[in-house]
Symmetry: C2
Subunit: 198 residues, 2 copies
């Protein structure tokens, strides 16, 4: 049966991954992978949409069962990508969208080697800093840390399948959509070759 394709949207904090994914979901039929977390739900967040909110005990039980494609602990909170929903959708032939920071993305790719990794970059570091500041979520120190972290993340960009500059949102979304369509078409060509009698 036809397998679905996992599309991983990644890149440093502040590059607009989330906005791009929201736009993609409006225009493309894809299943969005929702992460599990043990942190508390904030105002405006929706259980099962923003995150699946679970207890530390439940999260750790799932770790032991190999239930995550990747997970990490930031401060005292766990975050992870549950394996089952992603793998079952792919098996059913559905395409899956996963928005994730670069360290997690590389871990997922190690397990799902035919995932398509798309790296979103800002037009410049100055612009990235400006976006983080305008978002107004973090202190100056936290923004400096994010800017430093982005350097390590950029140094891994060459391991991705595609790099997209998010200068104008519309254009970036169109480019990602083109990548999705081209990939689905290419995978179809391969499936046809494998089925062909000669």
């Amino acid at each position: 049966m036809k397998q679905g394709v996992l599309f991983i949207i990644s890149g440093p904090s502040g590059t607009g991954k989330g906005t791009i994914c929201n736009e993609l979901l409006k225009q493309e039929k894809m299943f969005l992978s929702v992460s599990n977390t043990t942190r508390e739900r904030r105002v405006g967040e929706i259980d099962g949409v923003t995150y699946n909110y679970v207890s530390v005990e439940e999260f750790e039980r799932q770790i032991d069962k190999g239930g995550f494609l990747e997970y990490a602990k930031y401060g005292s909170n766990y975050y992870g990508t549950p394996r089952e929903p992603v793998e079952s959708r792919l098996q059913r032939g559905e395409n899956v969208l996963l928005e994730i920071e670069p360290q997690g993305a590389l871990k997922v790719k190690q397990q799902i080697s035919d995932a398509v990794m798309i790296f979103i970059i800002p037009p410049s570091m100055k612009e990235l800093k400006k976006r983080l500041e305008e978002r107004g979520r973090e202190t100056k120190e936290q923004i400096d840390e994010r800017m430093e972290a982005s350097k390590w993340e950029f140094s891994k960009a060459a391991q991705y399948n595609f790099i997209c500059v998010n200068d104008k949102l519309d254009e970036c979304v169109e480019r990602v959509r083109a990548i999705i369509h081209d990939t689905v078409k290419e995978r179809g060509l391969i499936e046809n070759l494998l089925k062909e009698n000669y």
Copy 2:
């Protein structure tokens, strides 16, 4: 300093990898990686161009030193991709072209994770068989074996960065050239981000 990019051209036997690489070398400034082999030189082949012809002893000494990005033994003959010429060119900022069968390609990618893997496919299995027959190098049994091997190879295509159909040679070469130019441009964007003061 700016690193070069390793472009791996791969795909089943008979898809036209060699012809594509010859065309690329006419049009692009790249260093072609030449394989080492212990098999005898055939009429028309040139030492240092078709292959580097070495003794079994020398080949095995190089294996022991970790001198190959990948190697394999077919029948009683060794074939391998020497590590040093590829790595030194990349370090000097030169782009490197490597034509190799899919099993070897995947091994090289494990070691040079930011290599760009391009998979060449035929328009159909019937066409692939026709090309192998017209080449006239092999027996019917050998062609059947190659066709069977191609199925395993196609099943790995999704691990490549790009898939290109070689239906019309000119168009396929143009597509590969576009991939090369786009990649070099993207890697340049990343290098600029890493250098930027903000």
